[in-house]
């Protein structure tokens, strides 16, 4: 939020004045009203490893994160470029493997990835789109540029919180939206449905009346709320594996009026559990025979199977090369510097500097299997050292980054917390980036981990229609209108970093 100490960046100035004009008591009441809305509407997630019924609300912070128009334009271009390249990459490695033959990406890195599905080799997916729903984690570097921290190409979640945050904020704090010109995000479900439909198999007998379903692992999944929410918003059926059956390589959904053919499945079940005949045999979440129907081209899956190979954290290091290889362009969004533990020189350097590094297991997500060097004990570091040496392919390291900060409302006081940004990209007939995203907040003071399972929260993310110059003018005009109302409260005085 800040450009220098105590000077807010232009697009935050109007918000700062609004906050200063508010009574802290009023802020606290608004936060309570927001929390209550989340609870009553059941906008919750489940924490694994605790007893039944441990549904929690995803903590929401009232103060929005603001992204000016030209910064967003850069993000939009960069993500479109990146996802286009990654889709070409996935097609290539499951077909000819040009990039492997030319030695740009080492062959053994791909084939040793646990998310590589050899069953997908030679299989053509609709529109050659492997990843149609993507949520990429971005961070803002100290120089103000956005960089990619992680690609989530399998079953990214969290988009329902983006929509809920906006809805709740508009309800409890309408005054903040005044004069800002914020892009709406509410059309996401509609765009998602259009994307899914554009993948429908060409041989569908009823192209005018396609059946799209959302496949959920069930009530006990941590993102079950999101599954019901999206299904409801898109007006499609929410199904579990046992609702679907495969006959003659066609997928049907079991309804009281008889079996109904299914054309597109937006699956929120991991590859491993999709089809017990093909992948994990002990899976009871999947649909026996689904893969054969998919192979026969009678049903579309979003995302395709085997996309996890491209968000493997070791493959991540090669993404800039991948973009140059397929698109002959320079990457618009940078990567974070990444050390591969499979490389002896890089490994020795990391092991010598473990207390400055963040070490991640390549196939994990959700903040599990991570070592944060500066916050770790000697015991933990020794532990990770052994794990890295035992399975170097399985780990990468990155320098500990100063995530950017944003003001957050903590117990009625405004304090600074680390944040990241996850915009959602849809790729079907065309690429759609809903202007906004999920800004995740590390709610513990000083913490760098933003995952909801590890004590993270979120805040609404505003993408502005206009650039900074226009805003500065609007802010000045608003200031004259306020007649010196600012300065009444004690809020918004701390904050550092970006």
């Amino acid at each position: 939020m800040w450009s220098a100490h105590d000077v807010a960046r232009p697009h935050y100035q109007a918000l700062q004045r609004t906050l200063l004009g508010l009574d802290p008591e009023e802020l606290r009441k608004s936060q309570q009203a927001a929390d209550l809305t989340f609870l009553q509407e059941g906008i919750t997630f489940t924490v694994y490893g605790s007893k039944e019924g441990t549904e929690r609300i995803f903590p929401n912070d009232l103060i929005p994160r603001i992204i000016p128009a030209q910064e967003w334009a850069q993000i939009e271009k960069g993500l479109t470029q990146r996802l286009t390249a990654l889709n070409l990459f996935l097609r290539d490695i499951y077909h000819e493997g040009r990039i492997l033959t030319e030695g740009i990406v080492p062959r053994e890195l791909i084939f040793s990835c646990k998310h590589f599905r050899r069953e997908m080799r030679g299989l053509n997916v609709p529109r050659d789109t492997y990843v149609s729903v993507c949520g990429t984690d971005l961070i803002r570097l100290p120089d103000g540029k956005f960089a990619v921290l992680e690609d989530n190409l399998r079953v990214p979640s969290g988009v329902s919180y983006m929509l809920a945050n906006r809805k709740v904020l508009k309800r409890v704090f309408p005054s903040m939206f005044q004069d800002y010109g914020v892009w709406p995000v509410d059309h996401y479900p509609q765009a998602l449905l259009a994307t899914l439909r554009s993948l429908a198999p060409e041989n569908s007998p009823y192209p005018q009346d396609l059946t799209t379903v959302l496949l959920t692992p069930g009530v006990s999944n941590s993102a079950y709320f999101e599954h019901t929410f999206l299904a409801q918003q898109m007006g499609v059926e929410l199904v579990e594996g046992r609702d679907l059956l495969v006959h003659d390589n066609v997928v049907y959904m079991r309804t009281t009026a008889g079996p109904r053919r299914v054309d597109v499945i937006y699956r929120r079940v991991d590859d491993d559990f999709l089809d017990p005949l093909c992948f994990r045999r002990d899976s009871i979440l999947g649909v026996p025979g689904l893969f054969n129907a998919y192979r026969a081209g009678n049903v579309a899956l979003a995302n395709a199977i085997g996309t996890g190979v491209a968000d493997d954290k070791a493959v991540y290091a090669y993404v800039p090369e991948i973009i140059r290889f397929y698109l002959s362009e320079e990457p618009i969004l940078q990567n974070v510097e990444t050390y591969l533990m499979g490389d002896v020189g890089q490994r020795d350097y990391v092991l010598a500097n473990l207390e400055k590094m963040v070490v991640k297991a390549v196939g994990e997500s959700g903040g599990y299997g991570m070592l944060i060097g500066p916050h770790s004990s000697q015991q933990q570091r020794n532990d990770f050292r052994e794990r890295i040496l035992a399975e170097p392919r399985n780990y990468i390291a990155q320098p500990t980054l100063a995530l950017s900060c944003a003001p957050c409302l903590i117990d009625g006081e405004v304090e600074s917390r680390h944040i990241d940004l996850r915009p959602y990209i849809l790729m079907g007939e065309k690429v759609t980036l809903v202007p906004g995203g999920l800004t995740r907040v590390a709610l513990r003071r000083g913490s760098l981990v933003v995952n909801s399972s590890q004590g993270g929260g979120s805040k609404d993310t505003w993408v502005l229609r206009e650039g900074d110059e226009h805003l500065a003018k609007a802010a000045d005009a608003a200031l004259k209108g306020l007649n010196g109302k600012a300065g009444g409260g004690s809020a918004a005085t701390s904050g550092a970093g970006s």
């Binding site: 299904a231 409801q232 046992r242 079991r254 309804t255 009281t256 008889g258």
Partner: protein, 339 residues
Amino acid sequence: MRPPRNYFVRAFRRDAGMLSRVADSMYWMSRYLERAEHTARLVDVELQLWLDQSPETGAGRWRFLLEALRTPAGQGPIDPTRLVDSLVFSRKNSSSIVSCIATARENLRHVREQCSSEMWEQLNRLYLEVMDARPEEEWMLKSHGFFRAVQDGAHLFQGITDGTMSHGEGWQHIQLGRYVERTDTLACLMETHFRRTAAPADLAADQIVESAEYLEWVGLLRACVAFEAYCKAHTAAIRPLRVAEFLLLNPEFPHSVRFAVDRVNAALHIIGDLTERKAKTPTRIAGRLRAQLSFSQIEEIVASGAHAYLENVRSECAQIHAAIHQVYFDYAIEENLAS
């Protein structure tokens, strides 16, 4: 009562049918809740009757109570406290009140987004209330409030369901579950009761019963919330033949077998129209049972054996259940695609 044929089909053609799993959950949710309500009422009535009796006659009653609730009694003497505990609180007994409410809630939880949030809130509240209650000392003597709360909670849930949920196919499955369960529990209760208290000759004689037996028959009526309704129809003179007629054949009283079967029949017809199914097994069996109840007279039934008649009602009811399951919830895909 039934809408004109094809009315719903035309209105909702594109959306014909709903997920079988969802329909199944709604059906069972409703059955379990009806079962909890029935058990609560029956145990409550039995405990009241127990207070009026000498200790010696008590032992036999418990065995009958278990039979009336379709719970097989073990060998050996029955301890009333443990028995009530197993009928009310035990999680080992899947038909205990607490188990039934927990199962109903679990079923609703899986299809929460298909129902109104008011429904979920009410069932969840009832669940939390019965989970909170614990058998403390002297609980049996103070239990009336608990049983009352279960019945009230179930009634409130039904009212909320009728008032807040679309009366579409899902709602019809809820009706179906409730009245299939009611038909079976009522038939079972009456069968046990007739076996215990009424020799066939006594029934046919159509006499007014005397003091000791009087309580039993009033108990039966109370267990079906039918005492007041019966008195309105036949005065407080309790004649077993009229009681049997009232509970079996009355078309207007909601806890009579005929009323319940009528509702099963109506729901099945609407579901059949909504889903455009060609298989008519459930409606056929339900129609046959309904015709029997509509055109039977109590004198004939008693003459040829009330016991056998009730056995037959229960077996038809089991067939209806199996047919619903087979046609709507768990069909073989080949049959349906071929047609």
